[in-house]
Symmetry: C2
Subunit: 190 residues, 2 copies
Amino acid sequence: MKTSLGAKTLASPTPAWVVCAYDQAGKATGATIAWGGICCSKPPCLAISLRAATYTHGCIMARRAFTVCIPSQDQAAVTDYFGMASGRDADKFAVAGLTAAKSQLVDAPFIEEFPLVVECQLAHVHELGLHTQFVGEIKDVKADPGVVGPEGRINLESMGTVLYAPGSRQYFGLGPLLGPGFALGGSYMK
Amino acid sequence: MKTSLGAKTLASPTPAWVVCAYDQAGKATGATIAWGGICCSKPPCLAISLRAATYTHGCIMARRAFTVCIPSQDQAAVTDYFGMASGRDADKFAVAGLTAAKSQLVDAPFIEEFPLVVECQLAHVHELGLHTQFVGEIKDVKADPGVVGPEGRINLESMGTVLYAPGSRQYFGLGPLLGPGFALGGSYMK
């Protein structure tokens, strides 16, 4: 018998991603989000949600572009900082000592020091309630050479990952390899 | 200098969730997805994407409801199976030896043996390309008592989690606690 926890935003895993954009003055800013995920394979798209009250929300609406900057496991603290401060009050890149690199593909900055970056052109805006969902078409994925494995795959074990646990509000790292997809379940196939 | 990997669906973490629905005959079926995430806090909503070719896609369109069933770490193999087989050819619940419990809130089944279940009423359908994004309003979250911690929070450390790595097509488990959200980044705040 299961326990009812109510109509709450509880699920696992959810990511800890820093969504970056330029403001009207051309200053790079970013916000950490846990509400997001890949949402389409062709065209490749990713969705992230932001409240209209956030500074980054207005930047994405105006510039029609954003990047998703994915931290390694040892960058959890600076990732958390990007979710605590507001770009209205602070130059988060300067405070964090991070480099805002200019994307050559979309009108948005990315965090040079983060190992994995997804460059997105805004494709759809869905008003869902408190949050606006931005669907971005992925124009490129850029990675530090050290986290790229054979055949251009991400070597997650060398990068580590950061996941956010809603409810308990905790960050966790990458755990053990459980097995290969589209293979592990083979024992159930006839 | 970063390496360009192309316009691909690479991000981390992405989930491994089994989306469950009833078909026209009332048979419970489900499909494992990695394209999804929470997308709104108020009303609480979650988004999952499926190709129109999948059996579960038609079920959700017809029944306007689904559940997201979240496995524990030792259920990765059966989770993978739900992504390998099609509900057109197999009674996945029967093959997997899992129980399809009937949700009392939405017209969809859930996997009784999975520790965390999110019951969703279909709220929006977004055609994005190869994938359709279904936004479900969360009506309740149900959990096994053993994974519920203080104040109705999920104890992720007792549950474990399964994350899917696109590209390398691997499943990974939960790693170490990195720290508390909205606190870890405090050292950067003035």
